[in-house]
């Protein structure tokens, strides 16, 4: 069975956890700007179901850390109104799966406000969404079932009016969340919940920003590129590590932001390696991997030495428990896809 790490980025004991990095970003931004609010279910005294908002209630009080009834459409709509009035709400959707009931507010109101008002109103809103299951095969959060495990990022990429961010490391989570809070657009911020407690890595002690819209090469290589998001970045890294021992040099590119997409970074990597595997945890059909593949086909076709391969979830709900492992993409499927593109 494949394992997550400890890869080049992941360490069990040292550094800051992915969850702690998110918590730190919230603390820093709320400290800096009194307009930043946190809104959601159990975000106050409870500190969030996963602990991301721990300590905020004690520090900033109930007027800025606002517990809401189970009412995603209601509080997401209210957050949009707050944002239009110049506040900077950060909404936590307890599980990304639950955003469906707030979707109208995001798609119909938030995504279109700048256009509808010719830019006179903006919606500086961040929606934090813990998403995903676990694909490491290490036994933690193996599929929390069809309603608590989905990767729903592609829905928002198609709305034309919001930014979509998915950090894979503690440093990126910290830097991107701070950038998202300062952005004047709605930003959908996808946090991989299997990384919350398991992934620790060094994070700059000084103030740290990661710009929205910039990809990152998580491992440099020359023979093939894996473009991966979220937890799949770490699966790709451990596969690359293993293949590296066999003398194959794999590059791992993490787009970090899906909208706007860093096409230049993707095309530069494709120009270098000519072989591409794309991996995400969302189902294959209509997943964001299709968009990345299309960008490469349109603008980088001449660099390709092999057909593009996608390693995604099967088109099915995420099963509960261990059965999730075979439904979701894992290390063996990435390794097999890499062998395919390297042999083509």
């Amino acid at each position: 069975m494949s394992t997550l790490g400890p890869g080049p980025l992941a360490s069990r004991r040292d550094g800051t956890s992915y969850l702690r990095a998110i918590n730190r970003a919230l603390h820093e931004e709320m400290e800096r700007d009194a307009n930043v609010l946190v809104i959601g279910l159990d975000v106050g005294r409870q500190g969030g179901i996963f602990g991301a908002t721990r300590g905020l209630y004690d520090r900033f009080g109930a007027t800025r850390v606002i517990d809401m009834p189970i009412s995603e459409a209601g509080y997401t709509g209210a957050a949009i109104g707050l944002a239009m009035e110049g506040l900077r709400p950060v909404v936590e959707i307890q599980f990304a799966d639950f955003v469906t009931v707030a979707f109208d507010q995001l798609a119909t109101v938030a995504a279109k406000m700048h256009y509808l008002t010719r830019g006179s109103a903006s919606v500086p809103l961040v929606v934090r969404m813990p998403y995903g299951a676990n694909v490491s095969g290490e036994g933690y959060m193996t599929g929390a079932g069809p309603h608590h495990s989905q990767s729903v990022e592609a829905w928002f990429c198609h709305l034309a009016g919001m930014k979509v961010v998915m950090p894979s490391t503690p440093a990126d989570a910290l830097g991107l969340l701070k950038s998202a809070i300062r952005d004047d657009n709605p930003v959908m911020f996808f946090e991989h919940k299997s990384l919350y407690y398991t992934l620790r890595a060094p994070v700059p002690e000084t103030e740290h920003f990661v710009p929205i819209g910039k990809a990152d090469i998580k491992r440099s290589g020359t023979d093939a590129t894996v473009i991966a998001t979220g937890a799949m970045v770490h699966v790709a890294l451990s596969v690359s590590e293993r293949l590296g021992q066999e003398g194959v040099s794999i590059e791992v590119l993490d787009p970090r932001t899906l909208v706007p997409l860093d096409r230049a970074a993707i095309l530069a990597s494709v120009a270098k390696t000519g072989r591409v595997v794309i991996s995400h945890e969302a189902p294959r059909t209509g997943g964001f991997g299709a968009e990345i593949a299309a960008v490469i086909a349109e603008e980088g076709f001449r660099h390709l030495k092999a057909p593009i391969k996608r390693v995604c979830a099967h088109d099915m709900p995420v099963p509960a428990g261990r059965a999730a492992r075979s439904a979701l993409p894992g290390a063996e499927r990435i390794a097999a896809a890499l062998r395919d593109v390297l042999q083509a």
């Binding site: 007027t63 809401m68 009834p69 009412s71 459409a73 209601g74 509080y75 709509g77 209210a78 957050a79 949009i80 109104g81 707050l82 944002a83 239009m84 009035e85 110049g86 506040l87 709400p89 009931v101 109208d104 507010q105 109101v109 700048h114 256009y115 010719r118 830019g119 903006s122 500086p124 034309a160 009016g161 930014k163 952005d183 004047d184 657009n185």
Partner: protein, 205 residues
């Protein structure tokens, strides 16, 4: 969204009251329930106005809701709910004044259901599903005419005053139309959008 606007004002210590309007059709959206529940539970300074004209495109209130009115829903959110004759300007003024005062005093939201009448079909050119009598009855209720009569009967305004106000209103509408046309609401073919235009129009810098 309206609840958020009201929350923002309260956070900033303003005494502004938000008033939000929806119809008998929209009243059955889940988001309206969630907004009213949020406002009730957090005592948000907002007034919900349900404009009930009895029919949503073709769906009659009697078919879309089993309750005798919409105002009774307020009880579920811990706020006062009141049915008001929406064509009686004095009654509307009294009800809204009360609701605004309540919100301003920190007691939270209210729901006012204004019973009004739909003069035309929902969209111009749609077939009229109501009987001729029903439409005639709807048109006989005119809040503006009623207020005019009230003010004339009470010697608050003279016929000349009324004529002057009405002419002023007509001019205001005419000016708005002229201004709109001048600002490009004409039938000229718009310039084609580039991908960069789309980005600029859709996202804040």
């Amino acid at each position: 969204m309206a609840v958020g606007v009201a929350m923002a004002d309260r956070l900033r210590g303003k005494d502004t009251i938000t008033v939000t309007f929806f119809g008998d059709g929209g009243a059955n959206e889940g988001a309206v329930h969630e907004a009213m529940n949020l406002a009730g539970s957090k005592r948000i300074p907002i007034v919900f106005i349900a404009e009930n004209n009895g029919i949503a495109i073709s769906m009659r209130v009697s078919e879309s809701t089993a309750a005798p009115d919409l105002a009774c829903r307020a009880a579920g959110y811990g706020m006062p709910g009141q049915v008001v004759d929406g064509q009686d300007p004095i009654a509307v003024h009294e009800a809204t004044t009360r609701a605004v005062a309540r919100a301003r005093a920190g007691h939270g939201p209210s729901l006012i259901e204004l019973r009004i009448a739909r003069w035309e079909s929902h969209v111009e050119g749609f077939p009229e599903l109501r009987s001729a009598e029903e439409v005639a009855s709807a048109r006989s209720h005119d809040g503006v005419a009623r207020l005019r009569k009230l003010l004339l009967d009470g010697d608050v305004l003279s016929e000349a005053d009324v004529a002057m106000i009405e002419a002023g209103c007509r001019n205001e509408v005419d000016d708005a139309v002229i201004e709109g046309l001048r600002d490009g609401l004409d039938l000229a073919e718009p310039a084609p959008y580039s991908a960069a235009d789309a980005q600029r129009l859709t996202f804040a810098p």
